[in-house]
């Protein structure tokens, strides 16, 4: 591959990456869930697919809300799950690097709220167990 061809390819890949309207794809394709087909991607960016013929036409029907919900659920399962895991690992690293304990320390605000709450109820003849329950709810 010559340098000029390589530049063209990079330019094309970038264009494809930046012009791919994921939301439009979700709206238009109620039947296809998963990765977009090559044909669809090429059609979106207005280029003739040189590798395979375009089969059929792009569905222009609006996807119902439950279908969108399903797409988002799938996206979350495949993308958000590993994100959550790596996020928790990074949390530990960051807390360690800043000298924060791995376990959650007592929340100062919550304790202040509790103090205020106890002070409000002091001397009002409230049952102790009820007080503890109420405090737990507040925390």
């Amino acid at each position: 591959m010559t340098m000029a061809q390589m530049c063209e390819k990079v330019k094309f890949d970038l264009q494809m990456y930046y012009t791919f309207p994921f939301r439009a794809y979700e709206r238009k394709h109620e039947h296809i869930i998963g990765l977009p087909s090559k044909a669809f991607t090429y059609e979106l960016i207005g280029e003739q697919n040189i590798f395979e013929p375009i089969r059929g036409e792009v569905c222009t029907k609006e996807a119902p809300f439950r279908e969108l919900n399903r797409i988002v659920a799938i996206e979350r399962r495949f993308l958000d799950k590993p994100l959550e895991e790596s996020s928790l690992k990074l949390c530990s690293k960051l807390r360690f690097s800043m000298g924060l304990s791995e376990q959650f320390e007592a929340d100062g605000t919550a304790l202040a709220n509790l103090d205020g709450f106890m002070a409000d109820l002091a001397g009002e003849g409230v049952d102790a167990s009820e007080l503890v329950k109420a405090a737990r709810r507040r925390l």
Binding site: Y18, F22, V72, E84, S87, L90, C91, L94, R95, L100
Partner: protein, 192 residues
């Protein structure tokens, strides 16, 4: 339940980390409160955190009154400002990691992404977006009157933030930087 992902730019974290002294604090806090309430999920990148740490150091140094630093030796000044900025940054990390552990936020890195590819995308973004030319009435260094034009636009780190937000399929990009407004499109850019 659908929850949108909102990428948080460093400017937002700086405003939140610096507290009420920052002019964007109220809006930044509102965004963080919305995330804590589960209106959408926040995405904080390690790149944003690094930039935030740097900006907090710079802002605290320039915002500390001169008379507070005047009586100190150079070493004492450095120690004082390091303590102050680390205190702000540690509080921010504490809050962000608590939110991440409660699954209200994601902390993300460029793990597994080819850095050459990232630079390629940044080059593309920078070549496609030319910023604004703005007139400034005074010199930034001596603060005297000096009318001159300056270029204000997207920088390479900004482009890296935007690229990462796209890779993570974020729906919102929340920032304090006007330079991003030109990128409003596939990701909704919200300048607070």
């Amino acid at each position: 339940m659908i929850s949108l992902k909102a990428y948080m730019d460093a400017g937002l974290l700086v405003a939140y980390g610096l507290g009420p002294a920052d002019k964007h604090y109220v809006k930044a806090k509102r965004v963080i409160d919305d995330i804590i309430q589960g209106k959408y999920r926040g995405v904080v990148s390690v790149l944003s955190l690094l930039e935030t740490r740097d900006v907090i150091r710079k802002r605290l140094t320039s915002n500390t009154p001169k008379n507070v630093l005047d009586g100190k030796s150079n070493l004492q000044r450095k120690y004082y400002l390091q303590q102050e900025s680390d205190r702000k940054y540690t509080t921010l990390i504490d809050n962000v990691t608590k939110a991440a552990k409660a699954k209200k936020m994601f902390i993300v890195d460029f793990d597994g992404i080819n850095i050459g590819e990232v630079f390629g995308m940044c080059d593309y973004l920078l070549s496609m977006n030319f910023g604004n030319i703005e007139l400034f009435p005074f010199c930034w260094l001596c603060k005297r009157r000096y009318e001159h034009y300056e270029y204000k636009g997207l920088g390479p780190i900004d482009a890296m933030h935007f690229d990462l937000a796209k890779r993570l399929h974020c729906n919102l990009f929340i920032t304090t930087d006007q330079s991003f407004s030109g990128l409003n499109g596939e990701i909704a850019v919200s300048v607070i």
